[in-house]
Structure formats: C-alpha cells, structure tokens
Symmetry: C2
Subunit: 221 residues, 2 copies
C-alpha cells in the first residue's frame, strides 16, 4: 500500500516559501517579526502604539492577517504605516506563500521592520514558519496564567512574550500570577524575553521598544 504523508507534504511546500521569504528579508537586511496570540489579546493595539511611538526611530510596515474583514488593517492605516491585508477566508493561520506576495506589495526599501500580525489563534500559526526572524507571542492577563502550560508550542518557539493588559491586574479584577507565567514560559524556552505591558496605558512599553531598536540593528536575531 502506498501511504501519502499529507501533513508533512503541506508543511514542506510552506517551508519552501518560508525559506524564500527568509532569504529575501536577509538580503534586504530587514527585521521581520511574526506576532501570534488568541483573538483579542491586543496585537493590533500593541502595533498601533508601537508604530506611533517609534515613528522617528524605526520605519514599520505591517502584514495584517485576518479570517475576514479589514478592521485591523484600517487601524494600522490610521497610523500612516504601510499595511497589506491578507484575508484567509476561514483558514486558521497565515501561510508563507501569502506572506511572500504581501512582501511584494510593501514598500520594503523604506522600512526597517515588518510585523506580520497573524490570525488570532494560539495553536495553528505556531506550526507554520513564514520566513520571519522571530515570533512574538502575546498573552493578555484576562486569558489566565495557565496558558504556557496548556498551549506550550508557541511559548517554546517565540523570541519574546508580551504579557498584555497589565492595567487590569493593577485594578485587581483579574487573577493572574505574572511569576507563574514567567516560570512556565522559561521552562519551555530558556532564552525567551518577557515584557509585561499595557498597550492601552503605555505601561512597560519602553523595554519592548528598546528590544525592537536593538533587534532592528541585528535583523537575524
């Protein structure tokens, strides 16, 4: 009997595009970061604030992945940053082929940093390399502190963990132990950088900005 390993085949086709994207970004000397989280963790708010506050230091472009709508791309557009929208029409993650054509539609020469905002999903996007230099996982404190244990793959693979919405903690409305999340994430990934932030109030964003400014100078991380 002839057995086709479909899972592996799909991943390989994706990997070819991911390799192509990675080579292109390396040749151009541009940093590319793939931002992954559950729906509503605050990816778009983090991006709009980061773009605005770093606009004199880093030129940022965005590839915006959504199942439907361009609600998020509109928010990015309001910051004047160049943005390319990809609608996956039901698919639960971006593919490297989609990112490849999005890269062709960004004014790459004018940019230092390309953020890919993946589809809101803590599971599937972690399995698909897009050619990025690193993954950024976002976890909002409203989601609970057991998430690194329950969804380990993305925490194991990310360069940075942004713990967002810490303003909700200060008001003590949410049960969430930052130290538990840090310990669980580091158990999976010794080198992960962790920044507790509030993209709403701006709290903690400076350390994240410093990491970005440093990383743009070394875009292979």
């Amino acid at each position: 009997m002839y057995k086709v390993d479909v899972g592996k085949k799909i991943l390989s086709a994706n990997e070819e595009y991911a390799f192509k994207n990675s080579r292109f970004l390396t040749e151009q000397g541009k940093l590319c970061l793939n931002m992954i989280s559950s729906p509503g963790s605050g990816k778009t708010t983090i991006l709009t604030r980061t773009i605005s506050e770093l606009k004199d230091k880093i030129k940022i472009g965005v590839i915006e992945g959504d199942i439907q709508t361009d609600i998020d791309a509109e928010k990015i557009r309001a910051t004047k940053a160049p943005v390319v929208q990809i609608n996956t029409n039901g698919a639960c993650h971006l593919s490297a082929a989609q990112v490849s054509s999005a890269l062709e539609n960004l004014p790459i020469d004018n940019l230092n940093l390309i953020f890919i905002e993946n589809v809101g999903n803590l599971v599937c996007p972690s399995a698909f390399e897009l050619g990025e230099a690193g993954k950024i996982v976002v976890l909002s404190v409203a989601e609970g502190d057991d998430k690194p244990a329950k969804y380990p793959a993305i925490f194991a693979k990310s360069k940075v963990l942004l713990i967002n919405k810490i303003d909700l903690l200060q008001a003590a409305h949410v049960d969430f132990e930052i130290e538990r999340v840090k310990a669980d994430a580091r158990k999976l990934n010794k080198g992960i950088e962790i920044f507790p932030i509030s993209a709403k109030t701006g709290d903690g964003m400076t350390d994240w900005y410093d990491w970005l400014i440093k990383s743009v100078k070394n875009p292979r991380l």
Copy 2:
C-alpha cells in the same frame, strides 16, 4: 492528473463519527453541548459554576479537550462531576472519533447533559461537528467587541452566545459594546440566544440556567 480532495475526505470521516455520536445521544435522550471559545474566555469557570449551582436539577458530565495537561479536568473533577480528559497533543480541535470514545467512558445513564469543552480556539473547532445538539460560543469582554465580525463562522453556527466577564465592564476597564456584539451576532445568526454573564460573580447566570433546564427537556434543541 489525479487530484485528491484531502480536506473533504477528512471532514467526511469526521462526519461519520459525528452522526454515530448524534444517534447515540438521541437514543439515550441526552443533551450534548459543544462549548467553543478562544483560550481563557472562561469556559471551565462557566462549567464549574454551572455544575455546582445546578447540581440538584441537572446531572452534568464533561468531556474535556486540551492540547496538553489536565488542569481543566482537575477543576471539573473538584465539582464531583464525571469528566473524561482528551489530550489532542497539538491538534487544534476535538474530533468526533475522540468524542465517541470519551462518551463510552462517561456514566451516561446517570447524566442529563454532556458538555464538551473544546480546545481553546475560535477558528478550527467550528468546522468539526462532534455529534452535539448545539454549539455554545463564549466570548469574554476582554477580547473586544469586533470578534463576531472577524471570526464569523462560530457565531453563525452556535445556539447560544455567552458574553463572559461582564464584571470587567462594570469597572469600566474594558472598551466593549454589548449591543454591537449582539447586533453583529444576530446579523450572522437570527436565532442565537445571547446571555451576558460573569462566571466569576454569578451575574446573569440565571437566564443561562433557565435555558439549560428547558433544553435538557428537549435534547435535540
């Protein structure tokens, strides 16, 4: 060239098991609800509170789906409700075959209602029927009020939308218009029942309980 439509094939194998589960549950006269949301929307807290507060009226069993760990199953077990844990080991949704074997391991004769707590993911689980009578989608106010527009499939398919963590709204820490969510969800799904609740404080839970008590008497919904 011979083209294999893999997506369709996988769905059909799943549908066979879903049909089998559905027939079994109908014959037994048991209500089965498939609970779907992003990670951290509060599915487990809703279940533990519901089980405890309805324990004299409805006998509830739980099929607990997680990628890794039995953290949630332990919380259910503390309520004394029977629970079967399924670890998907990376897969982003439960399959009907997994639910089929879980059903064999529940004391079905002693139960009126089986909750399936799906893997935390607002996208993939909506495409896989498990044999349930209805889907319950949970959205926490911390996730934002644009989610029905951005992730329409699950809102279009669910019998009930639970808008959870409304305690965060009252403290005005979160920007979330309940009326926008209601309108967007009803645009996709005219008949959807919507209950704003806080599983933490108990606010709004009575309407949800009334719906469950009524539905257990008519388990095909």
